[in-house]
Symmetry: D2
Subunit: 301 residues, 4 copies
């Protein structure tokens, strides 16, 4: 029996039109690497997906935004995208999240994969809806013995060399705003990434703070104050430069990171560009999908 493979990109999603290019760039890189394989986009956020459903049904919006691709206007859940593929005869799926770090969302996707593979197992093999499903790891890696997460963090740090170079040229500290979370102790990956940046670029002070959880902006400010930094290059450590970048990081409100850092006396230059827009970083997800497929024995010809 012949098996047909497809790739599904599981993205949190964004409603900010200008931020889509971070996501679409990952999609484009994946398509360039696997031109014969369907690459589909799914959004995991129910709220964001419903927003796009409304926009897709709103002629005024469509008229005003002629450039939004149909993959976004008709974006669906991870399950719906995978089920569509199954209905069309694809039984081998590579599910690649565009998440930064291993956390609850990644573990949740793992329950999807496990569940889909358990379907139809009474009659075995022939009637299983899926032959193989592989789950690619997030940008900063995950647990497991095959791909040491520390290597993934080093590779991610290398993909960000241009950021360090920009900070160095401006004699600025490089401060990333990550998302982080209150419910999963994922801070290790972020902190280790910052440390690895400093190993690679010892003359640039690189720090990461998170919107939620540890380390906080206060932690970052404390480190900056203990250093000799005067200037700060501020960038999102998120795949897209969406709401968090526009408002929380670089917005004019007095509690945005830019405002707070300026109030603390630093000269701040904010760059609203998602990590997905950086080709080397986008290609991390391509590598992860390729390796997950190889580990699972899925042939992405």
């Amino acid at each position: 029996m012949e098996h047909k493979a497809a790739i599904v990109l599981a993205m949190f999603g964004t409603t900010v039109e200008s931020a889509l290019k971070g996501l679409l760039n990952i999609h484009a890189k994946m398509t360039v690497r696997f031109p014969a394989i369907p690459v589909r986009i799914a959004f995991t956020s129910n709220i964001i997906r419903r927003r796009w459903q409304k926009r897709a049904a709103d002629p005024a919006y469509l008229h005003a935004h002629p450039d939004i691709p149909v993959e976004i206007l008709g974006v669906r859940t991870v399950l719906a995208v995978i089920a569509d593929l199954q209905d069309q005869g694809y039984d081998s799926i590579v599910l690649q999240p565009t998440h930064i770090a291993m956390g609850e969302e990644y573990l949740d996707l793992g329950t999807y994969v496990d569940s889909l593979l358990r379907m139809g197992t009474v009659k075995k093999t022939k009637y299983k809806p899926f032959h193989k499903i592989a789950l690619g790891r997030p940008a900063l890696g995950t647990y497991g013995p095959i791909h040491p997460y520390a290597d993934d963090i080093t590779a991610a740090a290398k993909a960000l060399a241009a950021d360090a170079e920009m900070a160095r040229a401006a004699r600025a500290a490089l401060v990333y705003m990550g998302h982080g979370n209150e419910h999963f102790p994922s801070a290790g990956s972020y902190v280790e990434l910052a440390r690895r940046m400093r190993t690679l670029h010892p003359d640039v002070l690189t720090l990461i703070g998170n919107v939620e959880g540890f380390p906080s902006l206060d932690d970052v400010i404390g480190e900056l104050q203990r250093s000799e930094a005067k200037r700060v290059l501020l960038k999102p450590f998120m795949v897209v430069a969406g709401d968090h970048s526009v408002k929380d990081m670089a917005g004019p409100e007095e509690d945005s990171w830019k405002s707070v850092l300026e109030q603390e006396g630093f000269e701040v230059h904010a760059v609203e560009r998602g990590l997905g827009e950086i080709d080397d970083f986008a290609n991390i997800f391509v590598r992860n999908a390729a390796e997950a497929a190889a580990d699972a024995g899925i042939f992405l010809k």
Copy 2:
């Protein structure tokens, strides 16, 4: 959080246009009973589904068959139908097979339900794609303490009273052709159904043979010969009067049941009418869906 419910009918499917009415009648009965709830059709047979996909893309076929409903022309897998519903915001699903007996296909559907309910359980509750999924039992019941299968068999026998009446009027034995199978010892339900018919209608000899597995046509002939029957009313014990009815049961070939029975000296009257076309029988699936929903706490307002 408000929950939205939908019903999915999991049918093996058929490619015989005239047989569709057995399936569509079940769909109609379900819709009448639950007018405010979406009732969707899925076909589990990959071969049959692909056949309909080809027909749906064939203008000549569409022109020649203007009456095929769009639910059949665009029929999808169980997973695709359920995932569509989830994408549209339905988180409570009643999955009702139109199977006759509990067998491998029913157990397979059970693995679907279990799997779908395990998705998204890391983050619990809020991010689970499904709130509740209930699996309705087949027409002849299933294992478990809540709905004794013997009661289901009795109810099915009562729904077939018109068949017994027709046989009585013709002074014929009533012989059903079931599907049966070689891989699952499901014969008990069939044999018990026939026995129950004889309890309800002691003056009509009712027998069931299966296309696959036990009891065979030979078993049926043996019983007929031990009786005083001269005439046979032959009917399918399948939801649709599809390929098996047209060819294996009533076809002109010399190995059809009709031909074989005639060769054995019986006068045979074959009625090609699927059980789904009998309203009382179709309503068994409606009852089973309603009870599965009630057992699971799904509100089908």
Copy 3:
């Protein structure tokens, strides 16, 4: 890494001392076939196990019953026996039920096997408590494409040739009392076994009735009355000749099968001997364990 294999016999159990030989014979046959492999006994019935726990702690009972083997006095749950083996370094388990037919208990054991194999899968392979677990099928087979259940039924019928011979010699009908159940439509296996017996021994009327569910004693009596039988050879169709044999089948109460059949005018000869005491039948479980091990790739050297 070297793997160590063991066999676990999952028995419902019995509290009737004389009935133990049906179980111990199966254990003995398994040990003879696999002399280098530990063969352990587990009882699934909580009530029976607790009874043995009390007896094992009762000096008077032990004094009065010096022949009860320690495997029975210290009998444990299926999970406890398997976990003990794991604690002792056995990572490959063949779980062989001594059930007659595929029913809820067998499906339940399937959930044990599935569950045990899912343990420890985060760290993969090395830290999984079990390498392989195989579930042997019941005497009358189970669903699935590898071992057609009809073949198992034929093999079981052949193992009972001596019963047919005894009935033939006495010009008696052979009536088995099976357990059956109200919650699982397993009657097919029983009915088909009886039919197969009649194919193999056309001159002996063989019937099976069940304590619970279909076919009932009434069904059996109806068939006997439609035949010319005057005498009945009555035997349990259960692994042990336990409570059901002693009381319900052959007891002096007027509602025992023997009494009822006698009241109906039949001459009844009851033989209280469990199927497990019949070597050919006991060896069915040995064959099933061997085949389950082979199918799973467990080496029972």
Copy 4:
């Protein structure tokens, strides 16, 4: 039906006799808190368990070590301990790991709990071997919305106040040696704990390095050199002061942490005392077990 509850402590284990008191103290604290509930010990390390099995069978060892409790000499796997309890009629289990951080071992225990709860679900309720199983979280918390991990880290930091006090009195930096790992990005919990210690005790420089993974001893030395510290109070951040403490942390070899730090010019005072020996820290596991039981509705009367 009455439910009986028991507590199982899942410990990695140790072969160092003097280190046992870290484990036994947790057991003692749990017993004091739940005097009516059995509290059993299991070791997850196969190597350590086999070592104890050998010792238990060695008369010379037993003679030389009369004080080793029988719970250690006969220590078993997690599964064996839980299955024993089930065999004895306990159907409600609180499984409390004595792990420091959420990592692969904790997720693996989660697969045990899930699997045990799936057993026996065909016949539902009455025949399930377990009614409820609760998994307590590690000392530094885990993911999930109910118990924010940051609160757990703060509580752990507070339990270590005496360490900070000892360091303050000696005008030393406090350096913990954690275990860490190469395969799971768990460093966040460690780094955040150290940061929280500094918030609570701003005048004491508290750092954590890990034997495996990030942060390394080199990272710690870098931080020490950037500070004004001259003296170091060196302690294990592990439940027991076992092999790692005796050799890798405080041993005389020149690559022990003590030796390396001394070579770097620091005055080092090493205290080989496991966290389990600190009553406030041991009680964290008691609290976690109590809260897991409460969350699951297990009544530890």
